[in-house]
Amino acid sequence: MNLEKVIFGFFIVLAATLNFGFVYGDIGDPQHHHVWEFFAAFVVNIVATVLKFGDRTQVGAIHLATSLVAVLQLAAAALVWTLAGQSASDLSASTLSSIVSLSAGALLANIVSVVILIVETTMQRR
């Protein structure tokens, strides 16, 4: 077992799970989408991206690309949130839907990242 591998896998899966937790629920309902969960997902996604820096293999490049996509999607969602209002409760349903749908895009990228992680692991016969 390799501690570095554990940390790497941990952050990638955590990024996906937090992202899923935020997106899960009715798309326009403020009760289902909490700002703290969004914040946590954002921070963990950035950490996951930084962890992927510097791997020059083909798989490493795709890993980095998916994470960059996720971070960009979440950044767009954060921007919409910041410009629209302060807390989740006083957002209109349409604004919240666009925030959640942007995050859902990030979720898709995170899922791809997790899939790559699993495929890469199963390919190694050790």
Partner: protein, 566 residues
């Protein structure tokens, strides 16, 4: 370049994560900890406000407490966060500096910059492999002549020295092994602008490898090689190296020429001299009895040259190996006995040709002490000892690097000069002396610039047009006029006219030119630039050839033509 960024990012992973963690922690605390406004109500920062505050506090810009004054609890937290973030930034900056000082990364950066600079070269250039004494001389001369060059040199210190030279150009230099084909390609071997490769390293095998790479990777590019041993030279010749310079063999040739025809030797060495050197009154080596000290690669060539001219030679060599038909004395020649045994008191000249500079000087000094009328030829191995050799003042000082540099320049600049130089020995001494007098009278005693003009649509369009379309006659003398005042002479002389395979040395001024002629000129500094418009500009050509001073523009030209027509 992208690999450099990737390497740097990988090294910065840890500090970046620390910084992200500090930001996240600080933001969480700032949002959770409440403040109280003037009405006593609690308020919280939003996540974005917290990020904004962290951004300007952590980078120590410090706008103050926004959007309103903080409470005590918030201030306690901010104090902690400031220390944490300063540590985070310091860690990042320290890591960044460490990455920048990393040798591997700096190497990658330097290589990347070199590649970019070579790729951006849009003028013709030469690749010099090996920037030792010879490379330095050639590089300086190329710079003087306005040619660009790129350097590949094994020793990093030498590439750095290149930057300290006072050159007119900023020559790209790369500390790498020229034997590796990839490095030659990085130096622009595959580029269209590459005019030639000079393999001048002090390692014969490396030069061989360069010649081979050039032959296989870009066969159109001429390659000039330095070869210290005859075997390497033969090997290079076997796969079509354009020119192989063996300084010892070349010196032997010069020596033979100097004995056979002093005038021809003087003319040759002046025409092929490095730019900026002056014509010297060189004494010719006398015939008679000669002593050669050191029978190595250099000594062999010298002895062969002497014997070819029927000169009597004795050898002094530490090994003392038998040479058929010659007197061989065992010894070094730095003491009197071996010199006397070789017959120094009756000799007319001595060659101090060992591979040790101090021994060579010692031989020359001792020999002159025994016989003051000796003609001395001294071999100088290292440029660093130049001052010693200048102070001694031998009749001829043989410097390998200078001989190689002469040869390279003569070949690179004008291939036509080579065929002119081959004509010289057959012309006789008087002819050479006369030519030398004429040239130095017209051009001064500095080594002239040599160039060739081909009367073709690309080489001299204005002239070519006059001869083919306008059917007007131009004589060679017209090209020697000053292009701004036609009654004055430009400081240049034609050396040779090549027409349809035959060539005429020192053509007269009234020779009519024909399309396809190639003329070799020698001129003082600036003469070539003065001649240039006659070849390329129709108005200047008309003025110089016929004395017609036409106005330039199209309309005034038409008007002038009309006026002249009826």
């Amino acid at each position: 370049m992208s690999s450099v960024v990737l390497i740097a990012l990988r090294r910065l992973r840890a500090p970046l994560i620390v910084l992200v963690a500090v930001f996240a922690l600080g933001m969480v605390g700032l949002v959770l900890i409440p403040g109280t406004d003037s009405h006593g109500r609690e308020w919280h920062l939003t996540l974005f406000q917290a990020l904004y505050f962290m951004a300007y506090t952590a980078s120590t810009i410090g706008f103050g407490e926004l959007p309103r004054e903080f409470g005590q609890a918030q201030r306690v937290w901010v104090t902690i966060v400031i220390f944490l973030s300063v540590v985070g930034w310091a860690y990042l900056v320290a890591s960044l500096l460490g990455v920048l000082q990393d040798k591997a990364l700096r190497g990658a950066l330097v290589a990347g910059r070199f590649r970019r600079r070579v790729r951006a070269l849009r003028e013709p250039f030469y690749i010099i492999c090996g920037f030792g004494e010879t490379g330095l001389l050639v590089g300086r001369a190329l710079d003087w002549l306005g040619s660009r060059f790129v350097v590949v040199e094994l020793d990093e210190l030498r590439t750095q020295e290149l930057e300290l030279l006072d050159l007119a150009q900023d020559a790209p230099a790369f500390a790498a092994d020229a034997r590796t084909p990839e490095n030659l390609l990085a130096a622009g071997l595959g580029k269209r602008e590459c005019r030639g490769v000079l393999a001048l390293t002090n390692d014969d095998h490396a030069n061989l490898a360069v010649a081979m790479s050039v032959r296989l990777l870009n066969p159109n590019v001429p390659v000039l090689c330095r070869a210290m041993s005859a075997e390497t030279a033969a090997n290079m010749a076997s796969f079509g190296t354009d020119h192989i310079v063996n300084p010892f063999a070349k010196f032997g040739e010069y020596l033979a020429l100097a004995i056979a025809s002093p005038g021809a030797y003087r003319l040759t060495s002046w025409l092929t001299g490095l730019p900026g050197t002056r014509l010297r009154a060189e004494a010719a080596p006398p015939r008679g009895h000669w002593i050669v000290c050191g029978y190595g690669r250099f000594g062999r060539e010298v002895v062969q040259a002497f014997r070819g001219q029927g000169v009597d030679v004795a050898i002094i060599d530490p090994n003392g190996a038998e040479v058929s038909g010659l007197r061989v004395v065992r010894g070094r020649g730095t003491e009197a006995e071996p010199l006397l045994a070789a017959g120094v008191d009756l000799a007319s000249g001595i060659v101090a040709g060992t591979d040790d500079d101090i021994n060579n000087l010692s031989i020359a000094v001792t020999a002159r002490g025994l016989n003051a009328r000796l003609f001395t030829i001294v071999r100088q191995n290292l440029q660093a000892n130049r001052a010693l050799f200048q102070a001694y003042g031998a009749d001829v000082t043989m410097v390998s690097s200078e001989i190689i540099a002469h040869e390279c320049l003569a070949r690179l600049q004008t291939p036509a000069l080579g065929s002119f130089l081959q004509l010289i020995p057959g012309k006789g001494d008087a002819w050479c002396d006369g030519l030398l007098e004429r040239l130095s009278g017209a051009l001064g005693d500095q080594t002239p610039e040599i160039w060739s003009v081909t009367v073709s649509a690309s080489g001299a369009p204005a002239l070519h047009r006059a001869l083919t379309q306008e059917k007007s006659g131009v004589v060679l003398g017209d090209l020697l006029r000053d292009s701004s005042a036609r009654e004055r002479r430009n400081a240049c002389l034609p050396l040779m006219l090549t027409r349809g395979g035959g060539s005429l040395a020192m053509p007269a001024d009234d020779v009519p030119l024909r399309a396809g002629d190639e003329i070799l000129f020698a001129g003082a500094a600036g003469a070539r630039r003065n001649q240039w418009p006659i070849l390329r500009n129709i108005n200047v050509r008309d003025y110089v050839v016929a004395g017609i001073d036409l106005p330039g523009g199209l309309i005034s030209m038409l008007a002038a033509r009309k006026r002249r027509a009826p």
